[in-house]
Subunit: 319 residues, 2 copies
């Protein structure tokens, strides 16, 4: 298996990318192509790759910066590492990395930790405005994801809303409900954020705007709370000592909030596996992202999504 | 000043309502009308009101339950405590408790704690689907609220979005931006949830669906984190001892997350002050809600909102 990795993507590039790749290559026995400035990457890789693992470099002259505007940057920096990486993925698969046949809109899926497991939320940002027919496909794709990756039979699919009752929701939720009910998924209705975190659904469907607010609110509240607790623990000698003793009790929360544990978001509904990491990714995050990609390939996630979408189209024609 | 309080509204009614009212009446010197089942309320009030404070009862035969559907319940239970309370408010003010003249849609406003103060978010649930002209008025009303209640000069008004850049947002955000910019408010653009919690805006405008997800996600993440920390602190003797020592360091977080501190949400844009409390409200929450209502009256919040809306309408006619 070969993984193509944008080596200039994290805030601290390229060290996390190089270290994470070497770890993953050694552990999982896979080849990794690092895409980025050869002059920068080569000496670091040489110094660190003492075992001559199959981690190689593909040169990309340009680097995308946070201040770059996406549309302009694709013109002014045609050889940015992300674009070169995506072209590489495309060329390796013929004319792939298009939308999968029959898919209305590719969507970003992210795994949220819950009180007793995981929940995949789709869409967390690819489509700010959605239609009911997108929602049905998000439900189907999310359902396959939960089956293949969480190993969950008949995953519970819900729509994120401002109340569980049938009359709750905005117009999009109300319009989507009838076709969600008739789709070939285990649709359980609306859930609120608290049900998400209690683990009462395996798949949560929402528009990319709402999903993005959900994701970013979770991160922001988590950060605010830990910042304040950390600050206040330092305030007296007693609380400092208490803080040391109590430290092991925070490991589960730390793990839950750690972006390197949660892993990267997946763009689903395209003919290829594309992972989008957090800017704050460290080498562990890169390693976990590569591991997840490896797992997705072994589980044939793409093939399973493609079949499910084909079945949806077939059953529609039969109606 | 007289406050009308639904005595059957909290999960544990009517004890929190009676105790909170007595506290508020004693501290603030105001009269409170408790609306609810006289048979139930009278003996409790008599037993607790040892100082003969001006807390009186208005009978309402029916009680709304969580399982009641709002529309059906207004018919099957016409004399529920909330309806009787609202009629009482209406009769006291002539034909008031209608929409304020010129207001497109009344909205629910809630105060969020931030790293360095407070931020009012409007709308958190009254209007699941919004239009740009609603957004402008939410901005104006929120701005007056921040001026009057937070005592903030020229409050910073932002729209909640999935990114700060101008091209981010769903269609509603994009459509609203030009008129938000030209409105008579200190509009600072889009903010993400993390800017909210950092305290980088005083007023955040959003549709009621998104605002409700924001509110409920904040509560759910806060609860999940404290539940897990509490559980894990109990896991070993060392962490238990540490937990006791560290306890004072959690007081700020506890206060932040305490619904009885945050207070009730306000329905703004109607001719009257209507507070909607959390189901989990205890007597402190009721007390704080009454105190906030008292404060809003003293600050002439309603009058200020009415003038601001009148000015908006005038400046529109002048264009």
């Amino acid at each position: 298996m070969t993984i193509i990795l944008d080596a200039m993507g994290s805030d601290d590039y390229p060290i996390p990318e190089i270290e994470g790749s070497l770890l993953a290559s050694r552990d999982l026995g896979i080849k990794i192509i690092l895409v980025g400035k050869k002059d920068l990457l080569e000496p670091i890789l040489k110094a660190k790759n003492s075992n001559n693992l199959p981690v190689v470099i593909e040169n990309a002259d340009d680097v995308l910066e946070m201040t770059d505007k996406p549309v302009e940057a694709t013109k002014s920096k045609p050889n940015n590492s992300m674009a070169v990486g995506l072209r590489l993925l495309k060329s390796g698969q013929g004319d792939a990395l298009k939308r999968m046949e029959g898919v209305q809109r590719p969507a970003l899926a992210a795994v949220f930790p819950t009180k007793n497991g995981n929940c995949v939320v789709i869409d967390i940002g690819a489509n700010a405005d959605c239609r009911p027919d997108f929602f049905v496909q998000f439900g189907i794709i999310g359902s396959i994801f939960a089956e293949k990756i969480f190993k969950k039979k008949s995953p519970r699919v819900a729509m994120l809303a401002n109340g569980e009752e049938d009359m709750k929701g905005n117009q999009l939720i109300k319009d989507s409900k009838p076709i969600m009910k008739s789709a070939n998924i285990n649709f359980i209705g609306n859930v609120e954020p608290k049900e998400l975190f209690k683990g009462e659904a395996d798949v949560i469907v929402c528009d990319g705007f709402t999903g993005n607010i959900l994701l970013k609110t979770s991160e922001a509240v988590g950060r605010l709370m830990t910042d304040i607790i950390k600050e206040d623990i330092k305030s007296t000698l007693f609380t400092k000592i208490g803080g040391l003793l109590v430290k092991p009790a925070f490991s589960r929360i730390r793990k839950m909030m750690d972006p390197s544990e949660v892993g990267a978001a997946r763009l689903l509904g395209v003919n290829g596996l594309v992972f989008i990491g957090h800017g704050k990714s460290d080498s562990k995050a890169i390693y976990n992202g590569i591991k997840a990609a490896n797992n997705d390939v072994n589980a044939d996630l793409l093939g399973a999504i493609q079949s499910a979408i084909e079945n949806q189209l077939k059953s529609r024609q039969e109606l």
